[in-house]
């Protein structure tokens, strides 16, 4: 097992490195627009693969699979709601964002805010706030595959070593040719993610008979609104994700990259196909594993009632799988994680180098310097081992929720300096208060955050107009 794991990981690292180096031939690494967003010139398919690989992270085969295992088919409803909203946003709002990026030559999402509202200091604050919000989200991405790799090798490859391999892959795929190396390696990694998850489902269907679904039905796991998936819980999980395409800069930035309108349409098409397939497969892994456990065919020693154990479902399930498949799936989770983190690292580097006053003059050099700095920071943060995967990922998205009215206002030309500054202060303050204090609220705290930020934005947008 150790030898096989080492071989497959070595092949994976070699392929990512080779593709990164090859992509450099097509990149102009001295041009910031080319380095940070591939010069707005990617094909629809590569745009879709980098969008999908950036969006779909280790959360899918660790968090979502564990959630499906413990809570049933409601997890599918939660994740497909995200997909449907994202497709709607990409079609109805993303098209306008793409047009703006062409007309104004935007490189970063915060550049849109800075230009629309004309407040450099508040824009810089949003950049820093986004950086802080994305640290937990990124850390779990490296931690997920490291934990699994350590688990399937019986602890021979220790978590810190696995973390170092993940960090090295992130660094190489990001630094070598910027967005091009990220996008090209994302395309390869996306293919690994979907094919290995399909192989895992095929193995499970061979092991677990259809009667397993009777067991799931008996435990109310085929009921999408069972005792776990109450309306409150469903919306608490769903709200941060359905606006993910607008509030998370690493995916927002990907709207800029298709080379023309046809490429943009193809990006949305291939992303939807990938997203739907990967979502159904990840949920099926959880459901089939639970069915197999209930029938006594698979051993996954996870207590479904204990939420802290849910992220252990996939690692423990892989101990039942044939060794080659277990390693392949582990590498696919590695790929899912690194393909998300490399995008975040490059996007954050581009935002700081473009939107922080005084940095822009040496923007590209600063951006390139920040890539290894961020990678090292993420390694250290993941080494501290934060808690349960789903909650951390949702926390990060929750912190970014107050930026929603700022982006929508900027896209459609609403709002003013006052509304930008007021919402930049009140929105993040409300989000931080909700996350840190976790007060009891009659509606999900995510809805409260959006309401507070939106009302602040609207109220301060209307006031100056009345004076006029």
């Amino acid at each position: 097992m150790i030898g096989l794991a080492a071989l497959i990981i070595a092949v994976y690292v070699a392929v990512v490195t080779s593709v990164s180096l090859y992509s450099r031939r097509y990149a102009n690494v001295r041009d910031p627009v080319d380095y940070f967003i591939a010069g707005h010139r990617l094909s629809g398919f590569v745009s879709a693969m980098t969008y999908a690989a950036t969006t779909y992270s280790a959360f899918m085969l660790i968090g979502l699979t564990g959630l499906s295992y413990a809570t049933g088919v409601g997890a599918l409803a939660f994740e497909v709601s995200y997909l449907v909203f994202t497709v709607a946003i990409l079609a109805l709002i993303g098209t306008r964002v793409w047009e703006l990026s062409r007309a104004r030559g935007y490189v970063t999402p915060t550049q849109l805010l800075g230009e629309r509202y004309g407040v450099k200091l508040a824009t810089a604050f949003i950049v820093v706030y986004t950086l802080i919000a994305l640290i937990p989200y990124s850390a779990i991405q490296i931690l997920g595959p490291a934990t699994i790799l350590s688990s399937i090798t019986g602890g021979v490859i220790e978590v810190p070593v696995a973390l170092a391999i993940a960090a090295a892959v992130v660094l190489v795929s990001t630094y070598t040719a910027g967005f091009r190396s990220v996008a090209w390696t994302d395309a390869i990694q996306g293919a690994v993610m979907i094919s290995s998850t399909l192989a895992l489902v095929l193995w499970l269907t061979a092991v677990v008979p259809p009667q397993a679904f009777n067991e799931l039905a008996a435990k109310d796991l085929l009921n999408p609104s069972n005792s776990f998936w109450t309306p409150y819980t469903f919306f608490a999980y769903t709200i941060p994700w359905i606006f993910f395409a607008l509030t998370n800069p690493q995916v927002f930035q990907r709207i800029y990259v298709p080379r023309d309108r046809g490429a943009y349409a193809r990006m949305v098409f291939f992303f939807t196909v990938f997203g739907l397939a990967y979502t159904i497969l990840s949920v099926m892994v959880g459901l089939l594993a639970r069915g197999g456990v209930e029938l006594g065919l698979i051993k996954v020693s996870v207590n479904p009632v204990n939420q802290a154990e849910w992220n252990l479902v996939t690692p423990k399930l892989l101990l039942n799988a044939p060794p080659a498949l277990a390693v392949l799936v582990s590498v696919s989770i590695f790929a899912a994680a690194t393909s998300t983190v490399n995008s975040i690292v490059l996007t954050l580097a581009s935002m700081i180098s473009t939107d922080i006053p005084g940095v822009r003059r040496r923007g590209l050099a600063v951006g390139k310097l920040l890539i290894p700095v961020f990678t090292a920071l993420l390694y250290l943060f993941s080494y501290l081992r934060p808690g349960f995967v789903v909650n951390l990922a949702v926390t990060s998205s929750t912190l970014l929720l107050p930026l929603l009215p700022l982006y929508i206002g900027a896209i459609y030309g609403y709002g003013c300096k006052t509304s930008f500054i007021a919402t930049s202060i009140v929105g993040p303050a409300a989000a931080l208060a909700m996350v840190l204090l976790n007060p009891p609220t009659p509606i999900p705290k995510e809805a409260v955050i959006i309401a507070v930020a939106s009302l602040t934005y609207l109220a301060t947008s209307i006031m100056p107009q009345r004076k006029q």
Partner: protein, 53 residues
């Protein structure tokens, strides 16, 4: 009209679990797959029209 239909499907995805409440068959998987595919088709029609502009 197309915009409203896409938006309606997105909102439907949020209430579908409660419409299917109590169902213990595989209806959720089938319903959500159909919902996602229909959204994809409508979005593509909208995007292809936009791309021809």
């Amino acid at each position: 009209m197309l915009k409203i239909a896409i938006l309606a499907l997105a909102i439907l995805s949020l209430v579908l679990p409660f419409i299917l409440s109590g169902d213990r068959t595989l209806a959720t998987i089938v319903s959500y797959t159909a919902l996602a595919l229909l959204t994809m088709v409508l979005a593509q029609v909208y995007l292809r029209r936009w791309a021809r502009k």
